[in-house]
């Protein structure tokens, strides 16, 4: 189990070292993620075939922390490790000459560690903690260049959207743990009845938030202001995958109603996000919309009853989408922007990068024999074979069609146009990362069936109808995207699609503004009431002090001084006896002698 834990600990140690030493951030990050990759691969080999490793760590009383490495979790860990490593390789080149590298690489390493903890978690508490930590890392990394306009707001929006959806996770965990009596994940998946339905719905809410499903998809578009490696790692392959991972892991728990809802939500997202992708004017935002759509398809697969289809698509999509982002990053460095009107012809200027980009894109569209074909096929087969086929299948097909369309659109925009562009720094590193992931995108297809069966024991769905319909949709979409001119695409739907189909002013108005208003009210309360109370307490203390000083001065001091004055006056009176006049002194002497005589007489008479 130590081996599996190294996948978490190596990047974590790298992050700590980078922050402590503030030197060699890139090298340390590479070392950390590389070690994590080795450990993850070794663990996968170990548990292939159905074995499972686990470890228990002390945690809260009654709720110990557990790590679990079974085939599902080990595969996910491997995915995270692979993508993480190659994106860091890419980032070495991307960040050449940029500032804030210590922060960046520390954040990336920390994120990888947290994501690994999430996928390897064996109990809800650890999973929840890791969930929150990846949210935090996302905020920090999106806001890396915080001095730029709009960046802090985008980071805050991403954080608030996902955080709000996380309430679902909290509630679901509460229900499950209360019902099952333990925080270990596997036993809680046996829950049934109303509790299961409730928990399933809440988990769905959390998954939809994290995976940017409709209506919560707005944050992902805006998160694209972060550096491209961040988009590649977090917002295509891993963080947004957390929602889908949650659904996949808890699929035994989900009741048919929840499954249907999940499927519908995923399908709707695939449709709407696909339309948005067709309308986007920025390459990275296009890819972000595509990410939402693809995760919609995964959710649809889970809803259709085949979590293994979703799993393989997740793995393939990870490689594909990160490769696409890496490529876009190269074009961004060449042309200085990610806007599609600036990027026209960038592909023609850099043919090798465009090759990698195109391979990944076609894989996404589902062209055989690339990996995307196999996974799309599995999803479509699951959709056609599910009890709700009339609802899910058309949505899946529409999603596939749209995928092809926007991929072709992107490729067309990049290829057509005058080829030009400046030199790119760090091209070698970037090229290496891109190449590795593009290769995986292409080649993973060969590994899909064995992965599916070996690791999860479930069979990949197959269906002739699905295969044919899928191919038709893919090719049709590609043709559409390539041939239809820009301004004619989408027609009347273009304007809302550009806005991203935000509902009712978006969650901005629904959630963020009220939350901020509440914050401001609380601040006013604190300043006015609490502050005033504290200050008045202070003032009261000062008043008491002043009063006591007054008493001391007037009362006690006066007493002491009057005593002194009285004594002095008495002394003055006594001095008056000393006139220095002889006759007076004689008189006094005579009087004193008489007195003494009387005393002596009385004394003598007494004895």
């Amino acid at each position: 189990m130590i081996l599996a834990a190294t996948a978490i600990l190596a990047p974590l140690a790298a992050a700590a070292l980078i922050l402590a030493l503030r030197r060699l951030p890139a090298a340390l990050a590479l070392a950390g993620t590389g070690a994590g990759l080795a450990a993850s691969a070794a663990t996968l080999l170990r548990v292939a075939g159905g074995a499972s490793l686990s470890a228990t760590l002390p945690g809260l009383p009654g709720l110990p922390l557990r790590l679990l490495a079974e085939p599902l979790t080990a595969l996910l860990s491997a995915v995270v490790a692979v993508v993480g490593f190659f994106v860091v390789v890419y980032a070495v080149g991307y960040m050449e000459g940029e500032g804030g590298r210590v922060r960046f690489f520390a954040g990336m390493s920390f994120f990888v560690a947290a994501m690994q903890a999430l996928v390897l978690a064996g109990d809800w508490v650890l999973l929840l903690a890791a969930w929150e930590l990846i949210g935090l890392s996302s905020y920090l990394l999106i806001g890396h260049r915080h001095e730029r306009e709009g960046v802090p707001q985008a980071a805050t929006r991403a954080f608030l959207y996902t955080r709000t959806a996380d309430l679902g996770l909290y509630a679901a965990i509460f229900v499950l743990v209360a019902h099952a009596g333990t925080s270990e994940i596997s036993p809680t998946l046996q829950t049934g009845g109303a509790a299961a339905t409730a928990a399933g719905l809440l988990l769905l809410v959390a998954a939809m938030g994290k995976s940017a499903q409709t209506p919560l998809q707005g944050w992902l578009q805006d998160a694209m202001v972060g550096p491209t490696p961040v988009s590649a790692l977090l917002h295509s392959a891993t963080l947004v995958a957390a929602g889908a991972i949650l659904m996949i892991r808890t699929s035994p728990l989900l009741s048919p109603a929840v499954l249907l809802l999940a499927g519908l939500a995923g399908g709707a997202t695939a449709l709407l996000a696909g339309l948005v992708a067709l309308a986007e004017r920025d390459l990275k935002r296009l890819l972000a919309a595509s990410t939402s759509a693809q995760y919609g398809l995964m959710l649809l697969a889970v809803g259709a009853g085949s979590s293994v289809a979703a799993l393989v698509h997740l793995a393939a999509h990870a490689a594909i989408k990160s490769a696409l982002f890496l490529g876009s990053g190269v074009f961004q460095h060449a042309r200085g922007s990610t806007r599609l009107d600036r990027l026209e012809g960038a592909g023609r200027a850099r043919p090798r990068t465009f090759l990698g980009f195109a391979v990944a894109g076609l894989a996404l569209a589902g062209v055989p024999p690339l990996s995307g074909y196999f996974t799309k096929d599995a999803i479509l087969a699951a959709a056609f074979g599910s009890p709700y086929a009339p609802l899910l299948a058309p949505l899946a097909l529409a999603g596939t069609l749209l995928t092809g369309a926007y991929v072709a659109r992107a490729l067309g925009l990049l290829w057509r146009g005058a080829g030009a562009g400046g030199p790119v720094k760090g091209a070698r590193w970037m090229g290496a990362g891109l190449a590795a992931l593009a290769l995986l995108a292409a080649a993973l297809g060969l590994a899909v069936p064995p992965i599916g069966e070996l690791l999860t024991g479930q069979e990949l769905p197959e269906g002739a109808l699905a295969t044919v319909a899928g191919l038709a949709a893919t090719l049709g979409g590609l043709a559409l995207g390539w041939l239809v001119p820009e301004d004619r695409m989408l027609g009347p739907l273009r304007a809302p699609a550009e806005r991203g189909f935000r509902p009712g002013g978006g969650l901005d108005a629904l959630v963020a503004r009220p939350a901020l208003a509440l914050g401001r009210a609380a601040a006013r309360f604190d300043d006015g009431v609490v502050h005033a109370a504290v200050l008045s307490a202070g003032r009261a203390a000062l008043a008491v002090a002043a009063a006591s000083r007054l008493t001391d001065e007037r009362g006690i001091d006066a007493l002491v001084l009057s005593l002194a004055r009285g004594t002095r006056r008495l002394g003055g009176r006594a001095r008056e006896l000393q006139t220095g006049l002889v006759h007076r002194e004689l008189l006094l002497a005579a009087g004193g002698a008489a007195l003494m005589l009387v005393v002596l007489t009385i004394g003598a008479a007494g004895t």
Binding site: H583, L587, A590, G591
Partner: protein
């Protein structure tokens, strides 16, 4: 009344009368002389009370002392002749009260005490012999002390009265 009492009374009254004159007259010389006579009367009283040695001693001493006093009075008084008629007293009432009080107290004590029976007088010759024996015997220390004290007083008085030499 015995003769002794009579004579004692007579000389006593004389002493008192002269004593009063001392302070009532404004002439200094007359004051001194009055004091002389007063003290002489006291000496006579001693003789009346059969203390012969003391009586003679008293008269002799007082004569000399009062003469010297007269000289000093003339030296230092503003108005030795007493012709100026100046009031030379102060705090008169307090003094009269004090004097009266003292006299009354002493007389009262003398009258009210039971002194016991009177004793017989010793013979005259024997007196002196006895006094000498007393002085040189038991009271030798007193005598010696008195002598030293006189010496000291002489030196002290001389030292005080010497005019300070001014050193230039």
């Amino acid at each position: 009344m015995s003769a002794q009492a009579l004579f004692t009374g007579f000389f006593g009254v004389a002493a008192v009368w002269f004593g009063v004159v001392v302070f009532r007259t404004s002439s200094m010389v007359r004051s001194a002389l009055a004091l002389l006579f007063s003290q002489a009367a006291i000496g006579a009283m001693f003789l009346a009370m059969q203390a012969e040695f003391l009586g003679v001693l008293q008269v002799m001493m007082m004569a000399t002392e009062m003469s010297i006093m007269a000289i000093f009075m003339v030296m230092y008084m503003m108005d030795p002749g007493g012709l100026g008629e100046m009031e030379m007293t102060h705090q008169k009432r307090a003094s009269i009260a004090a004097g009266a009080l003292a006299a009354l107290a002493a007389a009262g004590v003398a009258a009210l005490t039971d002194w016991g029976p009177a004793a017989a007088a010793p013979p005259a010759a024997e007196q002196t012999e006895r006094l000498g024996a007393e002085m040189l015997g038991r009271s030798m220390l007193i005598f010696e002390t008195a002598g030293v004290t006189i010496l000291t007083a002489m030196i002290a008085a001389t030292a005080v009265a010497i005019e300070r030499r001014r050193r230039r």
